[in-house]
């Protein structure tokens, strides 16, 4: 594939079939599936809860993009440092973070991952290596470079992961960060989830070419381009790149091509936004479903059955219901957190 163009990865009528799992360990694939189903159902639950007015703040849902975080996270450790953005539920959950902690945070509860000060757009789970997601686009990209530099200065083989979107690359911060990481030989994996949209703006309205690999090439950062809706392809590419990064080879770049089923924010589908988001277009992207394509492959390989799938769905919805109900019952944060969290030591005020 050319570094300028996504080729038929950009054509939603392609890549609808079961993914290729030849030679892969079924157990690993099934754990991928469990994670992807959990992420999807959790976000679908959030869509409904937001629509029903149970959630006070905006939720940016990544349904359709689950394979990317799941494929990448498989090669990560708790000692790595992962940074996300506004659409990071999957990045967090793929690391095995607590569903209840996420829900409680989104509901603004004291038991939330960010103690009610962050909501859906500001997530943190340090112990699992999730170092933070924030809504300012590209805001965490330079931070990921610094966290990678820290891992290098400490003499570890840990690395940093920076998740961002095809819109974020329009911010100068991303370009400065690619060059800086390259010159510092910082252990960073840049993961761009190219879903062709930045809020209402389709990529052709924002950039002359659709491949993000252009920027990796310009900054001499080795990269791979994959079908982001093929968890095996994502996993294999990420594993290769992460191994190189851990070996001290410097930063690497992964472009994963995908599509979000919901609109930019909340539960609507935004099929009204002009370029390339018609009902039909969305339908053909839905047919490139990362969950269905993995399930089909596992079923075809006779390592996964309809009843197993039914159980998975049932178990998952039960887990979601429990986590949600607990979060709904949880206490609100105390007013003091408002000033206590500003500095490590609360400032004296006269």
């Amino acid at each position: 594939m050319s570094w300028r163009d996504l080729g038929d990865l950009a054509d939603p009528s392609k890549y609808h079939d079961a993914i290729d799992i030849r030679g892969k360990d079924p157990a690993g694939l099934i754990s991928h599936l469990r994670k992807m189903v959990l992420i999807r159902m959790a976000e679908q639950h959030l869509a409904v809860a937001r629509k029903d007015g149970l959630i006070g703040g905006p939720v940016h849902l990544g349904v359709g993009q689950e394979a990317i975080a799941v494929g990448v996270s498989e090669s990560l450790r708790n000692s790595d440092t992962v940074f996300g953005a506004h659409r990071s539920h999957s990045h967090l959950l793929a690391l095995g973070s607590s569903l209840h902690g996420l829900f409680a945070e989104i509901l603004g509860k004291d038991t939330g991952l960010s103690r009610g000060l962050g909501g859906s757009m500001h997530l943190w789970d340090g112990p699992r290596g999730f170092y933070g997601s924030v809504p300012i686009m590209a805001g965490t990209v330079p931070l990921a470079v610094g966290a990678g530099l820290a891992a290098k200065l400490k003499g570890t083989d840990n690395l940093s992961v920076s998740y961002f979107g095809d819109g974020a690359v329009e911010e100068g911060a991303v370009h400065e960060s690619l060059n800086l990481a390259r010159m510092l030989e910082a252990p960073v994996l840049f993961v761009v989830e190219n879903n062709f949209f930045a809020s209402h703006m389709e990529i052709s309205l924002r950039q002359p070419l659709n491949a993000m690999t252009r920027f990796a090439a310009a900054h001499d950062v080795p990269c791979e381009l994959v079908d982001g809706n093929d968890v095996v392809a994502v996993h294999d590419a990420a594993a290769r790149l992460i191994a190189q990064v851990r070996s001290g080879a410097g930063p690497r770049f992964l472009e994963a091509v995908t599509f979000r089923w919901y609109g930019h924010v909340d539960w609507r589908e935004d099929v009204d936004v002009g370029v390339n988001r018609s009902v039909e277009h969305l339908a053909s992207w839905r047919a490139r479903d990362p969950v269905a394509r993995l399930t089909a492959a596992l079923t075809a390989a006779a390592v996964w059955s309809a009843s197993q799938h039914a159980d998975l769905i049932a178990d998952t919805s039960r887990a979601i219901a429990e986590a949600w109900d607990q979060a709904m019952r949880d206490p609100w944060p105390h007013a003091d957190t408002l000033l206590d969290a500003v500095y490590t030591q609360r400032a004296e005020r006269s």
Partner: protein, 330 residues
Amino acid sequence: MNPTQHYNYGTAILAAFEYLLATYPEVFVMGQGLWSPWYVGNSMTELDKKFGKHRVIDTPVSELAVTGAGVGAALAGMKPIIVHPRIDFMLYAMDAVVNQAAKWSHMFGGQAHPGVTIRAIINRGGEQGAQHSQALHAWFAHIPGLRVVMPATVSDARDLLVAAVLCGDPVMYIDDRWLYELEDDLDPITELTLATEGPRCLASGSDITIVGAGYSTKLAIEACQALGGQGVSAEVIDLRVLNPFEPKAIIASVQKTGRLLVVDGGTRNAGFAGEVIASVAERVVPSIMQKPPSRVTLPDAPAPTSRVLERVYYPTADDVVRESLTLMSR
């Protein structure tokens, strides 16, 4: 004779855009969300359809380059309006505003003026959190060369935008999503000269001077009405123009009332409320003050998300009333 027309704050801004685009071919608008302005409420609806996508331009997500392009287009004779749907996003664009736009006229001896208007929206609440809630007017007011306006009324929402675009200098026009439902009947547009606009008295009183800007002025007016019911006559002054800042009207009012309360939607330390208090304190005889001046501002903390914390975080009209009564107590 001029028939008045009914607007709210949002449609008044829209009316200003329509007037400017229809009247001045040098005017164009560029920024995020302009081809699907969900961010900007009803304040820019259909502009691209009416005036064309070449004059109403949605952009890549590049606040710095887009803002700088507005500065350059102005130098080349246009009257651009750059739109930032959230003032928070402008942290990326500060060089274009502060190092370039604000200093350009001065650096070249007053021979070239980038008459660009930058519309930045304060868009808080709704559990959006620290990066989507800021009000940075004090920052911009600290930058010589940059005119800063904050409309608090429906008429100013329209007329200060027109004045900003026509004044020839770089202007920060800062509006507030929490004001969009304000309603009023307006006369047809008359073009104001921004250089001669300044703070204005919106309600006259004799006991206490309450100063605000933008949404804080709305709080001040609501407090003023409540105070009236308790026998306290408050005078409300709307800042309107924060830079260059002309405190005359406020000083005159405080000389009358002997009490000053400043309401500000920004954080406290080094905020604009402090500037107002200082500008008065250094110009009035201390003994005329019945009580020390006071301010109601955000606490010195970033914005939280949880609704229960948002309730504690944002000042209300009740807070203004309470503080006013403290100043009234002997």
